[in-house]
Structure formats: C-alpha cells, structure tokens
C-alpha cells in the first residue's frame, strides 16, 4: 500500500474537505493506484537537475505601485453568500 485510509483522512483534513465514509474508502483505493503509477518517476536519476516551476524562463515582473480603478465594494460583495455592509459574515469563529 502506498497510502492508508488513516493518511487519506489526514490529507482530507489538510485540504478542508469533509469527506463521507464512502469517499474516504474510494479515494484510498484510487489514490493508492495513482501513487503506485507515479512511482515510475523514481526510475529516473534527477540528482543535480534544476526543477522547472515555469516553462518560460522569466525574471520577476515588476511594475510601479500605482493605484488603479477597482471594481468597488458593491460589486465585490455582490456574490458573497452572506454579508453585512462592507463585511463578509461567517459563522462564529470563537465559541
């Protein structure tokens, strides 16, 4: 086994996903087979190889820090599931 059900539960917590028992069972089997497949990368010696994070080599892209027109509070709040004035309303954080 590349991954156990206990590890899958741990990963779900890290990913903030409240998975059902059925999903945990299915993902354990499926992730195990996918992780077994990606094992094949270990056949390659990558000692000293520089990792690629972007395909196009580029330096940092700088620009002047100038204010530009923004969409405004009303538009920014329009899709919020719950808000009050210019604040997003969420369930209680501290009991």
């Amino acid at each position: 086994m590349k991954i156990t059900r206990v590890e899958v539960e741990h990963v779900a917590r890290l990913a903030r996903l409240e998975l059902t028992e059925h999903e945990l069972d299915t993902f354990t089997v499926q992730m195990d087979s996918i992780l077994a497949y990606v094992e094949k990368l270990n056949a390659l010696d990558t000692e000293g190889i520089i990792p690629t994070s972007h395909a196009v080599p580029m330096e940092n892209a700088f620009r002047p820090d100038q204010p530009a027109p923004a969409i405004g509070v009303d538009a920014a709040m329009a899709n919020a599931p719950n808000h009050a004035e210019s604040f997003f309303r969420v369930p209680k954080v501290i009991e």
Partner: protein, 485 residues
C-alpha cells in the same frame, strides 16, 4: 449553405458585403443552438438577449465602416472565462450562481473586436477531466455519435463547433483540454505557447500549465482567433511581451523543405490502428508536399503523465483553496463553526474528480512527501522540457497523434481515473514543455468517428504550426465533413 455552416472568414465576407447582418447571423446561431443543444448539451448558459444587443452594436459598427474580422461573429466561450454580468460556473456546483463583476482579458479583447458572445460552454468541472462527463450541468455528448464523449475538458467548446452551434469558440488547455476534444469532434484546436495569451480572468486550475486557445472549423479561423486574443497583458505577469505576428498573412508559407520530426516514443505498440492509419496518411501527404520527415527522440515521454498528475494536482490544490464559502460561491447552510463551514462547503460544492485531484495535490505538497513527489516531478519536468529543446535543434515542427484512440463511449473510463489520465499521453508533454501545438482533422475511424493529428511547434512557433496545418488542410477534405445531427 446555412448561415450556421459558415467559418469566421466566410461569414466576415458576407457581413462586409452587407449580404447579411450580424443580427441575422446571431439569430440563426441562436436558432441552431435551440435545435441541437437539447441533444448535445454543449452550452451551460445561452445569452440570447445580450447576444442580440451585441449584434446590433456590431451592425452599427459595420455600417460605420469600423469592422474587424471578428465584428458580428457569434462565438461561444468555455464557462471557465469570467464574463461580466453573465453567470460563470466552471462546470461546478461551487460556482453555479456566480456572476462575475468583470471580463477577463481574452473576453475583453474579443468584445473590443466586436465579436458577439452567444453563450457559455460546458466543460469538465474546473477543467479537470478528459470527457466533459464531470460537469455539474450534465455531460456533453459528441455530435458525431451521441453515445460517445466529445473529449474534454473543453468538450462543450469542441461539440459546439461540431454541432455548428457556434462559429468559433475559446477553450483552455492544461494537459490537452483543447486538442483532445478538437480531435474527437473533428475541429481545429490550438494550444498556444505558455505566456502567449493572458490568463487574467480565466478560472485557475494549474497555473504553470493553463493556456487559452481557440477551437474552430478551419485553420484560418484559428489564426484569426489567436491573433485577436494573443499578446502581453499587464494584468497577467506571466504573459510574455513578444510581438504578435499576423498569423493569417503567414498561413500560405507552405511546407517545402520544412523539417518535420516524428518522435519515436509516440508510435507505441498498441496505438489504435485507425489512429495509426491517419498518421501514416498525414506523413505521406507532408512528404508529397516536399517536407523533410525525420525521426526524433523525446526519451522522457513515458514519464509525462505521472509528472503532470503531480504538478497539476499540486497547483490545483493550492488554487482551489480560495473556494471557502466566504467571498463568493456555494456555502454550506448546515455548518455550526467556521472550520466546519469550510469543510462542508467544499464537500458539497466540489464533484468527485475535483476532490480527488485536490487530495492528490495536497498529499504531494504535504510535509514529508514534498521532495519525493512535487519536487521530483518538477525535476522530471526539466528533463521533458530539455527533450523538446534538443529535438527542436533538428526539426521545425513535430507531427504526432493527438489521442491514442478515437472518441470513447460515455461512462467507459469514469470508474478508472488512471485510464482517463492516460488518454492525454500525447498532449500533456507539450504543456510541461510550455510550447505550442495544434490539432487538425485527419480522418475517421471505421465506426465513422473523427481522428485528429497534432503538430507541435517551438515556443512562440505558432506561425509554423499554423502554416503547416494550413498546408495539410488545403489538401484534405476532412474539415469539411459535418456531423449528422
């Protein structure tokens, strides 16, 4: 010839000659959507009122003599493109009520040219899939055979071309999501070089791989669409500030003396015989046109799928962290505290494939596994990219299959994610290398389903693959065949 049959350049000529108005063309397209989409399900949202307003504006612009090639042309957009005032779902329950407050850059550029947006097209949820079966809004069906998938993730964008329910469409391609559905639906699909088209206002899946591109009825239309959306955008700092050539003007360059590479690792045992036949015919045609065919080697090809599914899922797990039920999108109603609200919102809002990829990516980035999975994959990506650089020292373009098989049946690969992932084996390496590639119609299998071939170009070599594709198209009739719907 019906109005909905016309390519962009044909329709443009009629609009320009005032034989037809954009309102007439747009109305014809909206009727075509009505007549076909109940069976195909290419669209998530159709926008008739907005489209007719845009068509009237286009007609005024044409009357004033200020038209571009795209003015008045009815186009569809994959529902991954943020559209101001038009619901944008990305194929997910999570965004099923999301109405964006702004247009992304590619959309804004199409609108500036006067294109008419007729609707938002179906896709795999968050562009994660190869069959358009994972959409919250139901699967899209292949117009060539409604029992088959159109491919994915831009399946709606490809199916709308095959169903003739959009003159042209935009899609996105992270591991083959433009080229594979284009191949399965017999249309032209172009994935530009990473950085060629702005990603601003495109819902992110895997940011180092995602790229915007057109799906069209012919190569000329692909050149027109690319020219309209390509170019540097200060709002996407990964877009590259390189001049955009006149892609249409360069189409006739021909292939005499063009060095075309055949990567030997792509001609594997077990390649579908119909796909192999289409490839052999394409090779013979290019030879007859004076191209020089050479074998090349991409030795790390067999590692591409594994590399992709680590890098793409890792980036996805990070990108999709934003869907927390706070600022926009779905929120679970049943949760008591904040943490529970996050976790339930995400469980309710995401479908199985999206959860699976978030899980894989989270695992690959997690403490103790980062070096073994994510960092390892990034190093192998370097080797894959190096393969392409080396091969392109000897050849101008490469010619390969797009997908290892013709279109597959609905449900065939749903239970086995790994089999679904392996259907992108010939398209994924191009995204990892960051170069460009185009899928062009190249025949049909014994069952009458479409097969495409892929031309891969160097970074910013769109001009070369477009002119090579155009030379192929001029000598073949495949792109003229229409699905019987």
């Amino acid at each position: 010839m019906e109005i909905f049959d016309l390519t962009i350049h044909e329709l443009h000529q009629k609009l320009k000659a005032k034989e037809l108005s954009s309102v007439e063309a747009t109305s014809a397209m909206l009727e075509r959507i009505d007549a076909t989409d109940g069976r195909v399900n290419a669209y998530i949202t159709v926008t008739p009122e907005q489209a007719l307003i845009e068509a009237e504006a286009a007609d005024r612009r044409i009357a004033a003599g200020e038209m571009t090639t795209l003015t008045g042309i009815p186009v569809g957009l994959k529902d991954i493109f943020i559209t101001k005032g038009i619901r944008t779902t990305c194929g997910s329950k999570m965004l099923s009520h999301f109405v964006p407050p702004y247009d992304g850059t590619a959309v804004a550029r199409l609108k500036e040219q006067g294109a008419v947006i007729v609707g938002k097209l179906n896709q795999d949820e968050f562009a994660m899939g190869s069959s358009t079966e994972s959409s919250y809004f139901g699967a899209t069906k292949n117009p060539w055979d409604l029992a088959c998938t159109p491919g994915g993730s831009s399946g709606g964008s490809a199916a709308a071309i095959a169903a003739q329910s959009a003159t042209a469409t935009l899609g996105t391609d992270t591991g083959g999501s433009i080229r594979q559905p284009a191949s399965h639906c017999s249309c032209v699909g172009l994935k530009p070089t990473y950085g060629r088209v702005s990603r601003y206002g495109v819902i992110a899946y895997a940011s180092s791989l995602d790229q915007v591109g057109p799906l069209t009825r012919d190569v000329t239309d692909a050149a027109i669409m690319l020219g309209a959306v390509a170019g540097y955008d200060p709002l996407d700092s990964t877009s590259v500030n390189t001049p955009v050539p006149d892609y249409v003007a360069g189409l006739g360059a021909g292939v005499k003396g063009l060095k075309i590479g055949l990567p030997k690792q792509y001609f594997i045992e077990g390649l579908d015989p119909d796909v192999k036949r289409a490839m052999d015919e394409a090779i013979a045609l290019y030879k007859s046109l004076g191209a020089e065919i050479k074998e090349v080697s991409l030795p790390h090809t067999e590692y591409a799928v594994a590399t992709y599914y680590l890098i793409a899922t890792a980036e996805a797990s990070s990108n999709l962290a934003r869907y927390d039920g706070v600022r926009f999108g779905h929120r679970s109603e049943s949760a008591k505290g904040l943490s529970e609200m996050y976790a339930r919102t995400r469980d309710e809002g995401f479908g199985a494939e999206v959860k699976r990829r978030i899980m894989l990516g989270t695992y690959a980035l997690s403490s103790g596994y980062y070096d073994a999975y994510y960092l390892k994959a990034q190093k192998v990506r370097t080797l894959i990219r190096q393969d392409f650089l080396t091969a392109f020292e000897d050849v101008d373009v490469m010619l390969t299959p797009v997908a290892p098989t013709p279109p597959f049946r609905m449900g065939e690969k749903l239970e086995d994610p790994l089999q679904m992932y392996l259907s992108d084996i010939f398209t994924i390496p191009v995204n990892l290398a960051g170069t460009c590639a185009i899928s062009v119609p190249a025949g049909f299998c014994a069952a009458g389903l479409p097969i495409g071939v892929q031309l891969i170009g160097k970074a910013f070599g769109e001009q070369s693959i477009l002119s090579a594709a155009y030379a192929f198209e001029r000598e073949t009739e495949w792109h003229k065949k229409k699905a019987a719907l």
